[in-house]
């Protein structure tokens, strides 16, 4: 009996083994059609993973961030941005403000046609800006300052502004400057089939929405040298683990990642690219003391800045992928002041002294919203507790966090915001009308500085913006800890340049490593 059983077990083992070999053999055959082979052959195709599905292709609904890579491929923008954040011509060959910065004159590039044959001209600029401004897209805010688009002649358009908007040129390099065919704007068809004049054309037959998008070169694109690849494939991979595995196994050549993956990626021979982008820390919003009276005193807000060990959080939680910064601005901004980063070292004793001076020697209570995804919460609670500020956390649904913290219910809260152009960043957080100023706090001094910056240009503009930066740091409107790096990992056969203001590089920022 025993011998029979053993014989049967061996037979079973052989059967299982044979099946495995058969399946493996089939799989091996299939692998020859995988993208790895195509990529290894040369530089004719670029395959990237994108962390989010594409939204609608309607130009008024496009988004920056991860989704920018989709529209980069098929749409061109009026202006372009260089890696050092300088602005250069795009579809507009020239751009010039009048003396008081209220009229922007765009001289348009001749001979551009959209993929449906429509010509690109001043009428197309007018149609696109009006379409964006009147739409419900996230980026309609980018052309909010434009009151009227005047068609001067076929290749000259004037943007007339209600008030100077120093961020407008930057917006025109991003989703705010995207040009779609005027004949297709607002139609149902453009939701799923983009009609632009960008470097590539979406191959709708080969693409599968939500899964992968294939693009072929647009033979009519005006600057083909900026895009070395003949084909482009964007694969939707929402899960970081799946992106890392796809990159390691050669299925894709570039992925958005985070600090937790860098060491492992570099060990596997991949290249990690970093650039400081997201400002993280506390917004001490209740500067008038509406819900937390103590926060009305600048000394209390400064005490909070001294009480929290920002460098420790940067090392411990962000794993060092970032740079210490006390400012709400991007390092490429005209008003970024490195010296301000030394203003608030970790000094609990100094914090206690300031609280004592402000009359809060016994501390005070504050309720903060708890974003379950943020790991610094217990550190904030403990370190503020050590100087006498008693934090109670209130649980907030993660999908509702932004609405909750903008509601004006919390005197201070943790937040991560991306940084970009100086005026844009300032406008999001500082004026009384800013969405990130939930208690609508303002001071006459600050209002005057904002007005001064709005009408200025060149050095004057930079100086006024620097003064605003210094003011909010001195007055401790925030307790900024660091600028977190945007991290992008790519295979060694691709050379990547990080975009100064976007979480992932634009398509033009990729090139074959050997060329």
């Amino acid at each position: 009996m025993k011998t029979a059983a053993i014989r049967r077990a061996i037979a079973a083992a052989i059967a299982v083994g044979a099946t495995t070999i058969l399946i493996t053999a089939c799989a091996g055959g299939a692998n020859t059609v995988s993208p790895t082979e195509t990529n290894a052959a040369g530089a004719e195709k670029l395959t990237l993973a994108v962390s989010l599905d594409s939204g609608p292709w309607e130009p008024a609904l496009l988004q920056n961030g991860n989704q920018a890579q989709y529209w980069n491929a098929v749409y061109d923008t009026l202006l372009h941005m260089e890696p050092d954040a300088s602005i250069v011509p795009g579809m507009a060959e020239s751009f010039e403000y009048n003396d008081d910065n209220t009229v922007l004159t765009l001289g348009l590039r001749e001979g551009i046609t959209f993929t449906d044959g429509e010509p690109f001209n001043a009428d197309a600029v007018k149609a696109n800006i009006e379409n964006l401004k009147n739409g419900t897209g996230q980026n309609s805010v980018m052309v909010r300052s434009v009151e009227e688009v005047v068609v001067v002649d076929d290749l000259t358009a004037e943007l007339h502004l209600g008030a100077p908007d120093p961020a407008l040129l930057t917006y025109l390099t991003l989703a705010g400057g995207v040009m779609g065919s005027p004949a297709a704007l607002g139609t149902e068809a453009i939701t799923t089939n983009p009609v632009g004049s960008g470097p590539y054309i979406l191959d709708t037959e080969a693409s599968e929405p939500g899964v992968q998008f294939d693009f072929t070169r647009n033979p009519d694109y005006w600057d083909p040298d900026a895009y070395p690849y003949d084909e482009l494939e964007l694969v939707v991979l929402t899960e970081l683990t799946a992106r890392v595995n796809a990159l390691k196994s050669g299925q894709v050549q570039g992925i958005a990642a985070d600090g937790s993956t860098v060491v492992e990626a570099e060990r596997s021979g991949l290249d990690a690219y970093q650039s400081p982008l997201d400002r993280r820390g506390l917004t001490i919003a209740d500067r008038d003391g509406t819900v937390v009276p103590a926060l009305a005193d600048p000394r209390v807000r400064q005490a909070i800045n001294y009480a929290i060990d920002a460098e420790g959080i940067l090392e411990g939680i962000q794993l060092g992928y970032g740079a210490r910064s006390t400012q709400i601005f991007n390092p490429s901004s005209v008003n970024y002041l490195p010296e301000l980063n030394d203003q608030y070292p970790y000094d609990p004793e100094k914090a206690k002294e300031l609280l004592d001076e402000a009359g809060y020697a016994d501390g005070f209570d504050v309720v903060m919203p708890e974003n379950a995804a943020e790991k610094s919460n217990p550190i904030v609670q403990q370190q503020l507790g050590e100087v006498g500020i008693r934090v109670t956390y209130e649980k907030v649904d993660a999908t509702n966090y932004v609405t909750e913290v903008q509601s004006g219910r919390y005197g201070m809260f943790w937040m991560s915001n991306s940084t970009a152009e100086a005026w844009w960043d300032m406008n999001k957080a500082v004026p009384a009308t800013a969405v990130w100023n939930p208690f609508k706090t303002s001071t006459p001094e600050l209002d005057a500085l904002i007005e001064e910056a709005r009408g200025a240009s060149g050095e004057e503009y930079a100086d006024a913006m620097k003064a605003i930066n210094e003011y909010v740091v001195d007055e401790a409107w925030f307790d900024m800890w660091y600028l977190a790096d945007a991290i992008y990992i790519a295979s060694p056969d691709v050379e990547v340049t990080m975009h100064p203001m976007n979480v992932v590089p634009f398509i033009k920022d990729f090139a074959p490593a050997n060329g």
């Binding site: 025993k2 059983a5 049967r8 077990a9 079973a12 399946i23 493996t24 089939c26 799989a27 091996g28 055959g29 299939a30 692998n31 059609v33 995988s34 599905d53 594409s54 939204g55 609608p56 309607e58 609904l61 988004q63 419900t136 897209g137 996230q138 309609s140 805010v141 939701t191 799923t192 599968e208 929405p209 939500g210 899964v211 694969v235 939707v236 991979l237 929402t238 899960e239 683990t241 799946a242 595995n245 796809a246 390691k248 196994s249 299925q251 649904d397 999908t399 509702n400 932004v402 609405t403 903008q406 915001n417 999001k428 969405v435 990130w436």
Partner: protein, 313 residues
Amino acid sequence: MATFFLRRTIAAVVLLFAITALAYVLIYTAGGNIARNILGELATQEQIDALTTELGLDRPLVVQYVDWLRNAITGDLGISFFTGTPVVDSLATRLPVSLSLVTLSILVSTVIGVVLGVTAAVQRGWIDRGMQIFSVIAESLPNFFVGLVLVSVFAITLGLFPATGYIPLQDSVSGWISTITLPVTALVIGSIASGAQQIRSAVLDVLKKDYVRTLRARGLSEPVILFQNVLRNAAPPAVTVVSLQFIGMLSGAVLIERVFALPGLGSLAVDAAIRGDIPVIMGVLVLTAIIVVIVNLLVDLAVTWINPKARVQ
């Protein structure tokens, strides 16, 4: 049989109503400002209000549900808030992925589970003990962990399979096998173990019955007793286990689809739930509920066919 079928169908329809209504209430109360999620952090209150009205989210809950239901009955599940694609289209492209994953998994796990379970019950001895040890280990491994190990070894180190992605069966048979092998393996290991255990004890129970002893006394050969009597009597609990495993795998597939980036219903459901894309969430829910109801109905029919006593009950 017809009455049985009719009764179960009516129950299924009532169940579908109950599930969709409950889901609507849960999504609604769980909140999340959908218009804000779509418009981003810089939107003004006016923009948010305008979009909320446009999406019909400012209407009372009952009105929203009845409106959704009326369209759903005609086969119109609405349009995704975020991508603008019709929900029915998304479901149609993603259902085959999940179904092929789960169906193949259930086939593999049933065949291997039955072979292992029956062998262990009949042979006992070291085969049985070996199977028990395998079961404990396999059941304690989470399927996503198995998935990650498989990717790391077979896709990244050995390069035998693609790490992510899916090739439909109709496009390429070998491509389909290459993309589905690792996910199926990850998904079945636990269910092979639990299935084999259940089948082993069902077979053991039957083997102890008096009639088996009588059959042996009458001189019938062991294979005849096993295949004609024991397995048929052990089958009903096994079929029920398989149906439970099928439903369990549908939810297990959510994680596996994420790990292997398979464009199935699970990935769609997770992305939609994170963003508050109500039409998509409801679409996935209805489809999943229908699949579960159909599977249960098929299992009931199968059990009735195998065991005539169940028809009376």
